[in-house]
Amino acid sequence: MNRIDVMKNPIEQLQKVFDSRVRLGIMSALVVNAQVSFNELKELIQVTDGNLASHMKALEDNGYIKVNKGFVGRKTNTTYSISKAGEKAFRLHIEALEQMIRQIGN
């Protein structure tokens, strides 16, 4: 029984929301930077506006990222940051991945 639990656990911890290269990219960037703008994310992950926007929306709906609307002069300047819930979910996701790697190694 124990062995099954150990094997089952990491998979359950993997978040379905992060099951995409773009979303992982967004979360990785936000977890090490206090604030990142839409354009910076676009540059980093190298995706189209629409693609990035839809992934951002999904993460926002999950409460994993926060949107901060501000102004630089008269231009709107929207930046994104990670929420407490997002940080926790992302950490669990990475830990689950690590555990899976360790099991493959065994």
Binding site: M7, I11, S28, A29, V32, E43, L44, I94, L97, I101
Partner: protein
């Protein structure tokens, strides 16, 4: 029996959902790490930039040695000359002249090194598709410029005070500290170059007459060594 079946079933789910390729979790983790680095550090700093800057520094030191050498003989000639009443003044002027020649050599060396370093890094960053003037590059620049700027102003005050012996060590120390600071915003190994320069600068404080040698070792040789190590580690195909 049940247990074995359960295990098999779970293993199947495990495999089909996440292990299309054996290394997928590993790939994902390394992707995440890459993304964290790319988003927080300016990683296209080229090793060739280090080598180029080092060569500029050595060339600069060579010209400076030439100037210093020439002036030393000139001073000796003046001292053995007969125009004793003018001795003081001419040596002063000579020193001012020497100071300015050396000053310009230093300025030209600095900008040549900066330009060479920029060109190699620009080439690398275009090759990798990373913006050379993105947020990361700006953050790196600011964090290098702050200790360097503060150090530069401080050194100008030292020159004003006539403490020439501490200028070379000062350059090494402040630049070394700038590099240690920069290590958080670019390839982390640059920290070690920073440590070496700070130590060289501190030792140099007790050997004020040998500034040029420490300068050549720190800005020249150490940069070339650093550049070769980094190029070998990250860029050699």
């Amino acid at each position: 029996m049940n247990l074995a079946n359960g295990e098999k079933a779970i293993y199947f789910v495990f495999q089909s959902a996440f292990m299309n390729s054996q290394n997928q979790p590993l790939d994902t983790i390394s992707d995440i790490k890459k993304m964290m680095d790319r988003s927080s550090r300016f990683i296209s700093l080229s090793g060739l930039s280090g080598i180029g800057a080092g060569v500029c520094a050595l060339a600069g030191a060579w010209f400076a040695a030439d100037v210093i050498g020439n002036n030393r003989t000139a001073v000796v000639e003046k001292r053995t000359g007969v125009q004793e009443p003018y001795e003081e003044i001419s040596i002063d002027m000579l020193q001012a002249f020497m100071g300015s020649r050396l000053f310009w050599i230093a300025v030209i060396t600095f900008f040549a090194a900066l330009l060479v370093a920029f060109i190699f890094t620009y080439v690398r960053s275009t090759k990798e598709g990373i913006p050379v003037w993105g947020v990361m590059a700006k953050r790196l620049m600011w964090n290098v410029a702050l200790p360097m700027g503060a150090g530069g102003i401080f050194l100008l005050k030292l020159i004003e005070a006539g403490v020439y012996g501490l200028i070379a060590p000062g350059c090494l120390i402040f630049y070394g500290l700038a590099l240690v600071n920069a290590a958080k915003y670019t390839l982390g190994e640059i920290r070690y170059l920073g440590y070496v320069l700070v130590v060289l600068g501190l030792i140099n404080c007790w050997f004020p007459g040998y500034g040029l040698y420490f300068w050549a070792a720190g800005f020249g040789v150490m940069h070339i060594v650093y550049g070769m190590v980094m190029w070998n580690k990250y860029e050699r195909k």
